[in-house]
Amino acid sequence: MNRYVSVDTLRLALPALSLAILLVAVFWLQPRAMSYTGLNLLFNLAVPIALATLAQMLIMAVNDLDLSIGAFVSFVACVTATYLYSTPVVGILILAASVGAYAVLGVIIHLRNLPAIVVTLGMSFVWGGFAVLLLPSPGGQAPEWARWLMTVRPPFVPVAIVASIVAALLAHLLVMRSSLGVLIRGVGGNARSVERAGWSVIAARAAAYGLAGFFAVLAGIALVGLTTSADAGIAQRYTLLSIAGVILGGGEFTGGRISPIGAVIGALTLTLAGSFLSFLRLPSDWQIGAQGAILIIVLAFRLLLNRLEARNK
């Protein structure tokens, strides 16, 4: 290993490297993908996953885990395909209220010292229930602007890539460059010292949850923009995908160690892994296992880095 490269840089480089390797493999298997349309088709469904991953990352920044992301994004998708389409004002109010509900959840979890996993698992049924109430059978219609946003064809770079970069940069500024971001990560790192330094931990948690709700809302809208309509279980997979994306992107379950750019790259890598396996003509029975194997390989490298880090100290 090159001793002039610091372990921290490697840590950030690993997700980017995995993405690059997969991308090369996909291009080699399927040269058609190496085009404007090809890249868009490969990555456009990764945009909502990337946004959901950023939401999950914010929750993980304060040492919690959100098991309701998938159900919540499905709920947002149902609101988007119904109210946001027919009566935008009501739709915006509902979505704003649900972001507020996320912030309140953060406060309750903090005040009552509840395990976030249990609370969010419970909430996943609440969101799922609302989603079924809104759309008992699949349907609805995507708002014109959401559809336009996800299918617009900017010059040179496909919208899927542009959207991923914008989301990553926005989250990076918010979490890594603002004082609020430092506070949120501080709560994950050492809540007590943040409190002793005179900051409000409860406000930081509420902000982290609220922001997570906001990114999840964006994920739901982006998803409907792609699918044109919704159903109550449309984003069920996102809960586990978002957690895997954060970890793949260099985040940790504890300690406030997260990376927004890494998280987006992690989400893109997961999506690409699916395409890669499909291009390999792997039977579906093996695909989940193979996807898991890719995760384990990347995580094994991470463990190696952690060891190196420990030795350097």
């Binding site: 399927q30 058609r32 993908a33 349309t37 090809g38 088709l41 490969l42 456009n44 469904l45 909502p48 059978s137 699949p138 349907g139 609805g140 996800m150 998803l223 792609l226 699918t227 044109t228 309509s229 919704a230 159903d231 279980g233 449309i234 984003a235 069920q236 997979r237 996102y238 999506t271 699916g274 395409s275 499909s278 291009f279 003509r281 579906s284 029975d285 695909q287 989940i288």
Partner: protein, 339 residues
Amino acid sequence: MKFHRMLTSSAAALCVAMPVSTLADTSDKSIALSNNYAGNSWRQAMLESWDKVTGAAVEEGVVAAADAFTTAENQATEQAAQIQNMILQGYDAIVLNAASPTGLNGAVREACDAGIIVVSFDGIVTEECAWRIAVDFHEMGRSQIEYLADRMSDGGTLLEIRGLAGVFVDDEISGGIHAGVEEYPEFEIAGSVHGDWAQDVSQRAVAGILPSLPEIDAVVTQGGDGYGAAQAFAASGRDMPVIVMGNRHDELTWWKEQKDANGYETMSVSIAPGVSTLAFWVAQQILDGEDVPKDLVVPFLRIDQDNLEENLANTQEGGVANVEYTLEDAKAVIAEAKD
């Protein structure tokens, strides 16, 4: 590399050697099957039929390839990604059994925009650019009453076994049965129970309601429930009514036993898993330039007294009676839709 070149050249030689007549206009086209779920016997039979029929078609040079893909998790977002991958793989047509009628519309639209033919069947999609091969469950219910009216000119008392409450298919079949009763008012539905398309649930439900019912002449069903109903009637000591069956192996076996023992007569109706092969031929016809209406209807697989043995022999234990469709069947379905 050398071996690869040898392969291609021998393949080319083979193509030249083959008689021109077997090469259809679609011989250079490839078709993909996008399937959302493979976890029950119906879907397994569906995939087997696909492999059997398309394998032969590829060998004969009708199409270049017909690959089947199944998503691992039965999720609309996963299947949408699968369809987008198929676009990149350069398939000319995608045959689709969809996880959601609406959740795939974006991906289907992308495929259509890329000039790909999309044919959905069983689990159909609402996107307008796709073809739909739908099941007419309403007619499946109505045809049962029609059959009974033919058998019993004086009409009679019916027991209705429904499926899983709140599911679209149950509403449709039951609606068809009630429409049939309106058409033939000499029939009367004395009672109805939910059998959840499972023989054990049906047996319990029928046994529970029987004491409160008058003499029953016939039982109308939705499939998967006929054997349980028969067991319940046998246990009650009542006369065995005409029970319409649903093509399941246990139902057909029981019917055969009764037919041999006392000449019992009924009929059986359901959808054959081989409908995937019908979708394949429809896609092939569209690629061939045939003008095909966007909405087609799946024919039922109906088993009657005289073809019972043949169908039973072709049905796997624990499975459903199946039939693989041919190009001629597809042409007939298309012609019917045009009228």
